[in-house]
Amino acid sequence: MTLTVIFAYLAAVLLIGVWSNRRLAATGEDFFVAGRTIGPFVLLMTLFGTHMTSFALLGASAESYRIGIGVFSLMASSSALMVPIVFFFVGTRVWAVGRRLGLLTQVQFVRARWGSDGIGLLLFVVLVLLLLPYLLIGVMGGGVVLGQITDGAAPSWLGSLLVSGVVIGYVTSGGLRGTAWVNTFQTAMFMVLGAVTAVLIVTKLGGVGPALDRVAESRPELLVRGEAIHPLRLLSYTLIPLSVGTFPHIFAHWLSAKRAATFKAPVVLYPVCIAVVWIPSVLLGLFGNIDFPGLDGAASNSVLVRMIALYVPELLAGLLGAGVFAAIMSSLDSQSLSLGTMFTQDVVRHYRWGGDLDGARQVRLGRLFVVGIVATVFLLSLVAERSIFALSVWSFTGFASLLPVVVAALYWRRSTAAGAGAAILTVIALWTWFFLRGIGDADYSVGGTGVMPVAVVFAGSTLAMIVGSLLSRPPAPERVARFIP
């Protein structure tokens, strides 16, 4: 029954993607940024669905199971504040500049701002390297979830193959419009199902109060932050959500907005979406300690699936499994499309490989790249270690630390290509230094102080941007005027 429901869901998702193909015009702008026609509701839902990976459902409950309520302040309310700020100050301006200059990628944005091909190429390499592990986590997540839902009956490669195949199907069919429509459906799906599950399970546990009492009896430390989170960790973790300002897939969705005012709904309502998904996840993770105490390591990641299996009817369990798939695919689709866009626009089209590309050839090439990228990631998922999941926070650290480059492009007239180059190279150097020291330790902090590496890398990037710019010649005023009125 569970598998039947999941297959039916995947078929529905494919259908939406294929249906959106009827609206597709054979132009690069239509395929890669939906012809800049996306309205407020779809923009809100697709931005949220793209930003929230399966981690918001499975990872959040697992973290809550392990460290308690502090996970909400660490990851949810920090995003509730920082993400709308980035949308307001960065997203709207990126949209406006992108619309005027016809931009489709971040590399085009940087090349247009500072007129440097080399900085664009450097940024391209860094973005691809940071995004690939993120894609791999999504594809592997599909396998892990299917294995958990079927209690090991379905091999993990099958889940990864399903996720990859369906994503290829609707992304190549509908481009960013299809992706946005499917994401809207998928985001609504995992928001509603998450809330329904929480209500169902909490009711069976006798209500929130009695369930909390039972947790307090055995694990009182989970109901405070105590030693589980260092205050400096909370302070510095607030920088991690700034990564939303440099994710290539979020950038593409920004460019797809119909008008500047389209951003108002995401800016205001984003914290509501976060609360709807994270409150149930955190509570269910806490309550997992009642029925499944003592789960260690990877086993604790399955606490939500175990609770669903114990408390929820099979039909709803199938729908919830589909909801988790939805959370995975709603990120994977935009990520693979953004990489396909970058390879098509920033490499093939920019360097004029094969001569001029008309709209139809851009679309064909974009589709080929999406298929190639997702297929490659699927093959990598067959050999990658499970420890790859630890890479996500490192990926976020790299993206967040690139934000000073984007902010300088939009707000600092005196910023230069040399400053941007210095900032990107500083991110590479500091990120590598910390990564080599901290990759084996989930609680790694700078010198054991509680400060997360992102704080130092971000500060270094900002400083390099300032010093590099001041030490180089100011940019031409007419170039600056296209970005800063």
Binding site: S77, A96, P220, R225, A260, V268
Partner: protein, 82 residues
């Protein structure tokens, strides 16, 4: 309130919220508020306050003229391109 002052307060709310996010005062408090551990309730209410702050931000500080000029078109609030 004058438009300029309204914008300043809308902007000033953001760093204030950043500071309020670090609630050391409830760090080890096991009591409950509105049925949940107070450390969790605080951050749920904090998220609600962020919604209000963002609503005010887009209402009084929406940079429609700047965005219209950057986009090369009349902006969304009807202000013609400069």
């Amino acid at each position: 309130m004058a438009v300029g002052a309204a914008r300043v307060t809308a902007y000033a709310a953001l760093p204030a919220l950043y500071l309020l996010h670090n609630d050391l005062w409830f760090w080890n408090d096991p009591s409950r508020f509105l049925g949940l551990p107070v450390g969790l309730t605080y951050h749920i209410l904090f998220s609600a306050v962020v919604v209000l702050a963002m609503w005010r931000l887009v209402r009084v500080a929406w940079p429609g003229d700047v965005l219209g000029e950057l986009a090369g078109e009349a902006d969304d609030d009807g202000v013609a391109r400069r």
